[in-house]
């Protein structure tokens, strides 16, 4: 009798060169860990999401309803896909869809989709707007954040002690460093247009940025932390090359945050190491980062660990990370037959070719 392979659905296949989503990297990690021993269903929002055409990582792919269209349509679409694919595990990878996915967790479980996500309260507590409150509770240093409904603040902020440069941020995504009121107002409108209001402003911290990816087990423990420093960035400030680092002090910062939140699921902690060597909390992303393939590179394949945890299996022992391991991205053209693009456009699903 043929045994059914474990099927894992991964969102965020928008592996765009200047600002890649994490889904393709997550799928690559899973393929590295399990080879042909699992089926991977790639989920995207646009027929031009590059990861949807890479058959070596995705056995089949589907388009979803945009998060903007609401939770009901998203659930309806996932239910249709589930009827065909019999998915065991869903790994959401995008900031904009995560609030919906978290809210749908029980309904997803009801149609047989296992997830390993935080609850709504945990999710909200790490939001950008509430970050100072969380950092305070966890005993972590952080730059002050303000929530803005209009850009007037930037004209007079110098008078109330908010001196330039400042960082203007979207509530879900995006951050721009601005040096004067004109740049700040432009950044406000650009971010509000893409990510809606409110817009956040954060005090600028000079120093070097470090990122840590890991998984919270939901009982206050951080598992498998992997640290990285960007060595080259795209025009949008995303890592184009990076190097694995290992600092117990940064790991402790992340442990405190995970313990305070009782976080369940993947996360990325973004910090600035200021000139005094103090880590200041900049952001917590409630998902794997796009550079997560480095976790496989350092021997700590975090998407594979997530799969084990989601299936209720014991977490495998993690080897010591290997600082000094680097990654460098490259742009690559995938040849796509028009018929495949047409199928995805018209039917919202297709079976991509193995490009390997």
């Amino acid at each position: 009798m043929k045994t059914k392979l474990l099927t894992v659905a991964v969102t965020g296949m928008n592996a765009l060169p200047d600002n890649p989503g994490p889904g393709l990297a997550v799928a690559r990690c899973l393929r590295e860990a399990y080879g042909a021993g699992i089926r991977i269903v790639g989920l995207g929002y646009d027929a031009l999401d590059p990861g949807l055409y890479l058959g070596q990582y995705c056995d089949s792919v589907y388009l979803l309803s945009y998060p903007l269209n609401g939770a009901d349509l998203l659930l309806e679409r996932l239910t249709d896909i589930q009827a065909v694919e019999k998915i065991d595990i869903l790994i959401p990878c995008l900031d904009a869809e995560l609030p919906l996915m978290v809210g749908l967790a029980e309904k997803l479980a009801g149609i047989g989709l296992k997830t390993f996500m935080p609850d709504a309260e945990q999710f909200e507590r790490r939001s950008k707007a509430r970050l100072p409150e969380l950092a305070e509770a966890a005993g972590i240093v952080y730059p002050e954040v303000k929530t803005l409904a209009n850009p007037q603040f930037f004209r007079t902020c110098n008078q109330v002690g908010w001196t330039y440069p400042l960082v203007v941020k979207g509530v879900f995504y995006d951050a721009k460093v601005v040096a004067n009121p004109e740049q700040a107002v432009a950044a406000f409108h650009s971010i509000a247009q893409e990510w809606d209001l409110p817009v956040l402003v954060q005090r600028f911290v000079a120093g070097e940025e470090y990122n840590l990816a890991g998984i919270g087990d939901g009982r206050g423990n951080l598992l498998g932390e992997v640290m990285m420093k960007k060595r080259a960035v795209t025009t949008k400030g995303k890592a184009w090359a990076g190097v694995a680092t290992a600092d117990e002090i940064l790991a402790e910062v992340a442990r405190k945050l995970v313990a305070e939140l009782q976080w369940k699921g993947p996360l990325e902690v973004e910090v600035m190491r200021d000139p005094k060597g103090v880590y200041q909390l900049i952001e917590i992303n409630p998902r794997f980062p796009a550079w997560i393939y480095l976790s496989h590179g350092v021997g700590r394949n975090l998407p594979a660990l997530l799969l084990e945890l989601t299936m209720g299996r014991p977490a495998p022992a993690m080897p010591e990370p290997r600082p000094g391991t680097m990654f460098i991205r490259h742009a690559l053209e995938t040849i796509v037959p028009m018929s495949l693009f047409e199928t995805l456009m018209m039917q919202g699903q297709c079976t991509p070719e193995n490009q390997g």
Binding site: E208, Y210, M228, K229, R231, G242, V243, A244, T245, A246, D247, R273, P323, G324
Partner: protein
């Protein structure tokens, strides 16, 4: 200079550095990398063992067959460069 120490960066910082034979140096905590010439490499290897300036100079003289003043100058200069990198 017997028993004297120079103003080097934190010794724990220097000891965690990974040195390769090519002169490539990697700091696993910060992710920064540097290159040094043969003299710098030798000085850094010695500093990772001791901060005693006299001992460092004696060992440098033995390796590179240079006089005390030259060795002392090289070590002081290198200590300054290290401070620039790690402070």
């Amino acid at each position: 200079m017997a028993g004297q120490t120079l103003d080097f960066p934190n010794v724990e910082t220097l000891r965690r550095l990974a040195l390769s034979e090519s002169g490539f140096i990697f700091d696993p905590v910060t992710g920064n990398s540097f290159t040094v010439n043969h003299t710098g490499q030798a000085v850094l290897q010695l500093i990772q063992q001791t901060l005693d300036i006299e001992e460092i100079i004696q060992k440098l003289q033995a390796v590179f067959e240079i006089d005390t003043l030259v060795a002392e100058r090289d070590v002081i200069e290198f200590a300054g460069q290290l401070r620039g990198c790690f402070l």
